[in-house]
């Protein structure tokens, strides 16, 4: 019954429809007809792609593909490029080093505390090698965390008197991963002109606004901060979410001088900027116990938001660490790219670092600050004509630059090479400071790098000074 009724109902609707069709006014039907035709046209027309240039035929495209010639993958490097031919060191790069077959006294490796050849350090590393093998076979998150890593982090945090420390397996990657973990696009970073390349790469990866201030010039920095303050007043909403950082180094690698930390702290609280301090050169060197520039100036370490250093200089190991309050450091465990996506530090290197740290703690007299007078021997008293010493008197890594440039950078580099070769032939191993000329933001002038370590005796320092004098005389005059 219901089905029949439904069938009748359907028929009835159909009849109604046909009736309505006949009764509708003409314009209505014509309009509907046009609309239906338009829909059919749209359905069958070709889709309009904005990207493709429809005026190129397939043949033309193939011709373009045929014609295109790329540049070679790498341009050829001239055979006499100064950075192409490396010095070959046979044997350990310790105090007495064999370079290119010749035995020399090492004035080029950053082995400030002489721990590279220390027997206790080596035996601690050997014990670790016997227990763990060499590699960790995984990043920290996936069975790459060893008890030695945890111990090293604890020891570093205790030594530096901060809450927490985090270890990286590569010194360069430490600051280059730490900066982008906090500073993102839209944030502002004030950085010194003489900052090292690792900091520059970290800043580039962070995509923040970079503002360079003149090297160690607090007035310039204050000017930039004031400018930023007036910008903030124009747009307070944006200012409330824009983070600001100052990135400085304790002892600058490129110039050998120290940053004026007390003034920076004052600026920090006045303008509400956070400070990131890179202490690769000053860790183990400055301060009564080697805790770095904060101990040197007697500043509360909590005033510095993040301290980053590499363990490849004073600690004579491999890798780097960051230390600070847990609030700051813990964030890197999930956002530090070099920490999360990379294998952890081999345990033998971590054990070597722990032992080196033990030695540093037990022997505060090991501190090369007591070799201040040695550095004076090289810089102040014996004047080397044609070359000037650049760097603080207590910096262990100095630069010898030409007093006047001899035309172009290439010429200067060649001249310095001759000085270095003269010294190497007479038993003092030196090296030129190497830079990537096209990549640096503010390229430092060419220089010879001189490194003072605790292992060098007075006679060796005197010999080095006199040899440099001789070399400068013969090459530059």
């Amino acid at each position: 019954m219901a089905a029949v009724a439904a069938g009748v109902g359907q028929q009835w609707v159909l009849v109604e429809m046909v009736q309505a069709f006949y009764e509708a006014p003409a314009y209505h039907l014509i309009l509907e007809g046009i609309l239906i035709l338009w829909i059919i046209r749209l359905l069958f027309s070709k889709t309009y792609k904005l990207q493709e240039r429809s005026d190129l035929t397939l043949k033309e495209k193939e011709e373009l593909i045929e014609e295109w010639q790329p540049e070679p993958l790498v341009p050829p490097v001239p055979k006499d490029h100064p950075a192409l031919n490396y010095n070959i060191v046979s044997g350990p790069p310790t105090h007495i080093i064999t370079v290119n077959g010749k035995e020399c006294i090492n004035f080029a490796s950053f082995n400030f505390l002489g721990l590279l050849n220390n027997e206790k350090v080596k035996s601690a590393a050997q014990a670790s090698l016997k227990k763990y093998g060499v590699g960790t076979c995984g990043p920290r998150g996936f069975y790459g965390t060893f008890d030695v890593h945890l111990e090293l982090e604890e020891r570093l945090a205790k030594f530096m008197r901060t809450e927490e420390a985090i270890i990286y397996s590569y010194g360069f990657a430490t600051i280059a991963s730490a900066i982008p973990a906090y500073s993102k696009r839209g944030d502002i970073v004030f950085v010194d002109e003489a900052a090292c390349f690792a900091i520059q790469k970290g800043l580039q990866a962070s995509r923040s606004n970079i503002k360079l201030f003149k090297h160690n010039d607090m007035a310039d920095l204050e000017r930039l901060l004031k400018e930023q303050e007036s910008e903030d007043q124009k747009n307070p909403r944006k200012a409330r979410v824009t983070r600001r950082f100052i990135v400085v180094e304790g002892l600058y690698m490129n110039t050998g001088d120290i940053c004026p930390l007390p003034e920076l702290i004052k600026l920090k609280y006045k303008y509400k900027v956070r400070i990131f301090l890179e202490e690769s050169l000053s860790f183990g060197v400055l301060g009564a116990h080697g805790r770095g520039i904060t101990e040197h100036f007697g500043i509360n370490i909590d005033d510095i938001d993040l301290i980053s250093a590499n363990m490849e200089n004073s600690l004579a190991s491999i890798g780097g660490f960051c230390c600070g309050r847990s609030f700051i450091i813990d964030h890197q465990r999930l956002s530090g790219q070099g920490y999360c996506f990379s294998a952890s530090l081999p345990p033998l290197l971590a054990a070597a670092a722990i032992e080196a740290l033990n030695i540093m703690e037990d022997n505060p007299a090991f501190n090369p600050l007591c070799s201040q007078r040695r550095i004076h021997a090289l810089s102040g008293q014996t004047r080397i004509s044609g070359l000037k010493v650049v760097g603080e008197s207590f910096s262990p890594a100095l630069h010898l630059q030409l007093e006047e440039s001899w035309g172009s950078r290439e010429n200067d580099v060649k001249l310095l090479k001759r000085v270095v070769d003269y010294c190497m032939n007479s038993g003092i191993a030196l090296t030129q400071a190497r830079y990537l000329e096209k990549e640096e933001k503010c390229l430092p002038p060419p220089s010879i790098r001189v490194v003072i370590t605790v292992e060098q005796t007075e006679q060796e320092l005197d010999r080095a000074a006199s040899l440099l004098k001789e070399a400068a005389q013969s090459v530059l005059n």
């Binding site: 490097v77 370079v99 950053f110 060499v134 609030f327």
Partner: protein
Amino acid sequence: STKPDRLQEINHIVHNGGLYKRPFNEAFEETPMLVAVLTYVGYGVLTLFGYLRDFMRQWKIEKCQNATEREEQKDFVPLYQDFENFYNRNLYMRIRDSWNRPICSVPGAKVDMMERVSHDYNWTFTYTGRVIKDIINMGSYNYLGFAQKTGACQEAAAKVLSQYGAGVCSTRQEMGNLDKHEELEKLVARFLGVESAMAYGMGFATNSMNIPALVGKGCLILSDELNHASLVLGARLSGATIRIFKHNNMQSLEKLLKDAIVHGQPRTRRPWKKILILVEGIYSMEGSIVRLPEVIALKKKYKSYLYLDEAHSIGALGPSGRGVVDYFGLNPEDVDVMMGTFTKSFGAAGGYIGGKKELIDYLRTYSHSAAYATSMSPPVVEQIITSVKCIMGEDGTTIGRARVQQLAENTRYFRRRLKEMGFIIYGNEDSPVVPLMLYMPAKIGAFGREMLKRNIGVVVVGFPATPIIESRARFCLSAAHTKEMLDTALKEINEVGDLLQLKYSRRRLVPLLDRPFDETTYEETED
């Protein structure tokens, strides 16, 4: 009876005009609809609870456990946005015990783990002092079993350590280039079959510091969707234009290449200076192997350059362990830049780049790492030298070859058994990286914990390393795993799979067709 013929037909279609000398079997079973819906529901519930807990923490009803800013700096701009950490605080923190597990022995086939407990729901951990011994290690990247504390490699490394010390204290271009480094580089070049090679101290840094040296502004980088963070960072730092093609999808890559050459740079229409294709040998989250023969054919046709990152595939693939080039039987000279790491199959640390002499000379001069980063530690270098010689058979034994074969056998066996049990396994049949799909967020934590209870250490991964609904457990097979260990592991996985209802596979196989490029998942059904 008809099945073998059918399979042969399938493999023949994949042979793709004779480019492949062996069958290429890769499968990514589609997520079952019900599972996807339940996963979203799961995340929804967790998010709601997250908001509730945040609310309670803000109104001090619940104690706030995370570290806070200093009093003196409370008026500074906040360092972290609240929302950025929402996922960390409310989802990651609940299952945080699945990661960062501390171990205290060599990361070989069996490992000892330090027991840790949490009394406040994973906010802090305390170590009980007990050591859980002999956990079967299915998480460490120990493909050829060179993570050993005894043996020829360890002895050689010990000798070099006592002679050279642990550190180097200088860069390669200054005073850090030891004779050991030169020896290593010559050996690696010989191993790979290239003219020249250069080694670096960190695998991540090898990519992030050398890609900017090779390409710059005005160049084009075509990068796979699922490339590793180091490749992405290197590509970004270089300043070149980056375009992404769908994962392992050759039609997508070809389209991008065609468009790039025909249309040139955007807006200025100048031709590109060079085009660099970035691919990996084995993708560690998917377990897939790159379609290298097709990539090389495309690269030759369109005159671009190929950068192959063999982080996981060197040592693990190929009849002689020389990586994905060896696996497909191709010529190493066709790959312009062969990059790899020493962390996985060689039991050491660091990375290398191999290629023509001009390339390596250029990198020696202009690589960021050579100029500014400390060179590799001597005992680590010695470990690599010894293990490479072992794999090549030059140490006078057949251990290397045996290990490569053992790994291949383990891979095939393990994958076959897991598929038979009914789990969804991603990736290529020959890849020693085996992802097992979990999907639901609660199962991530449950799987890790249940397996640990049964003395098996596994790696689980969730968002953001994988897409949000595709969480997985990832097994890394090793030549050091014996058949007994694998059987034990499989038994336990079976048990846990039943307990947690992880056997999602509907086991439908269709013949693989050459699909148009807007479909990226293959579904295999058999009738």
